[in-house]
């Protein structure tokens, strides 16, 4: 279970996040919405340890992991999938996956590890020997997911999984995430586009200029027209209520 308490963070001297709090329970999918520059990526990076928060706390299963390096967090069960479908371009698909599993105490054999995710993304199995840079953006995103999946994290942070992906490939990716949560993993997903991930989310929050200004269940937010207004930068006075 992931808990973020009163987090303040930024990069260099630039303050970005102000007093952000949220919680994600095992099996839950929580969506972080917000426009460009709102601070969504900064939030995930601050939780994962790429950025050290200036104030506040990040708790993993009750343990304070604030500011811990990403490597240690990954080994303790908190994994971030970076935005931009980043994988290791010169390594093969199978080596990429293998590296994902490297942190497990008992790696087992490749097939038992990866079988499940390869069944879901057959294209990866077909390209097992290809270098990752020869894959399309969407396939690389699948590979990034597979790489994280075999590590069996308890908490997964996913930064804009749909960015730069062909429309057709987005639903299988989201479905995969939904099933993954179903296995008891706590999922925190950042998404730019309002419609895309609300379908699979349980709850959602909206970040505006570094602070959470709206939150609720996915259904509530789907119908709330204020969400759109926030995205369009319409000032509070202009907002439809």
């Amino acid at each position: 279970m992931l808990e973020v308490r009163n987090l303040h963070s930024g990069y260099g001297r630039v303050p970005v996040l102000h007093d952000v709090s949220l919680a994600v329970h095992p099996g839950e999918v929580v969506l972080v919405l917000g426009g460009n520059g709102a601070g969504k990526s900064t939030l995930l990076r601050s939780i994962a340890g790429f950025i050290k928060p200036t104030r506040g706390a990040v708790m993993l299963d009750g343990r304070d992991i604030t500011g811990q390096s990403p490597e240690i967090n990954a080994r303790q069960g908190l994994r971030l999938i970076l935005d931009g479908h980043r994988v290791f371009p010169e390594l093969s698909v199978s080596d990429n996956i293998r590296l994902g599993a490297a942190i497990r105490p008992d790696p087992g054999d490749f097939e038992s590890l990866a079988g499940e995710v390869l069944a879901f993304f057959p294209i990866l199995r077909a390209k097992l020997r290809s270098a990752a840079r020869d894959l399309s953006g969407g396939q690389q995103q699948m590979l990034a997911l597979a790489q994280a999946f075999v590590a069996r994290p308890a908490v997964l942070l996913c930064d804009e999984p749909s960015l730069g992906i062909a429309q057709a490939l987005i639903p299988p990716i989201l479905e995969f995430l939904k099933n993954w949560a179903g296995q008891g993993v706590a999922l925190l997903i950042v998404e730019q586009q309002i419609d895309v991930a609300l379908a699979i989310a349980d709850r959602a929050v909206v970040i505006e200029r570094g602070a959470i200004t709206l939150s609720g269940t996915a259904d509530e937010l789907k119908r709330d027209r204020r969400v759109q207004d926030i995205y369009l930068g319409l000032g509070a006075a202009d907002r439809r209520s």
């Binding site: 990954a74 290791f88 490297a102």
Partner: protein
Amino acid sequence: MDELIIILVRGIGLGAVFSLVAMSFNVVHNASGILNFAQGNMLILGGLFGFFTLPQEPELVRWLLLVPAAALFYAAVLAVQGWVTLLPLRSSVEQHSWLITTLAVSVIIGAVILIAQGPFALSVKSPFPNFALLGTRTPTPYALAVVLAVAWYAALHWFHTRTVTGLAISAIAQDLEAAQAAGIRVRRLQILAFAISGAIVGSAGFVAAPVMSISADSGIIYVLNGFIAAVIGGLGSNAGALIGGPLVGVASMYAAFQYGGQYQNVVSLALLIGVLMVRPEGLFGRTRARRV
């Protein structure tokens, strides 16, 4: 014609030593963006290892056993140097301290050699007789250096493509953040990279000792030529190092033959400036340098 063959053969042999230095640069640079200036003097130390451990009468078995011994010994030494070099980079804003700390270590090693052994070059006797090649008599260490260079190239290639640890180091070079996100212990592997570079230069110094100039002063020559070899081939590429080394070696030998030994380094310098002005990324270069 004979002379040209000698130049070619010895140039390639000498170049193989440069290739080994270049490969040791690459390992560390790929993992951390650091260029370890002390590699040249570490090579000399490898030669000294030979000086102290080889018996008067050459014995093949003993020699064979000492090669991995030298490699292991200097792997340890460089792991320590790596740890020291990486220490200030953890927290301070000074992200280029490695430039000075590696240079300082190089200076210290040179000074210690000077005090312990004096300023004159030491010679190590080759445990093998000269062999005949294309009508010339060539000291065997030249050929051994070539064999070692190819062997290390193959070993590194195997390491980086077939072992999980090697894959992880390769991953750090390709995308540092993604590697961190995947839980790869970057610092630890960077120290391992230093250790591997130590194994390379340690074994190289030991094997090539009979044909090397082993003195307090010569480390800088090897580090510069090794750097030029790395740059020509493309910093970060071991295939490039394998090609760049002999290029520099042959040019160096030719300069010595044509103009005299004192001009070898001028030619190397000219090569360096030429490459940097015309094509700084070298033959196979990746232009990205890893952040520490």
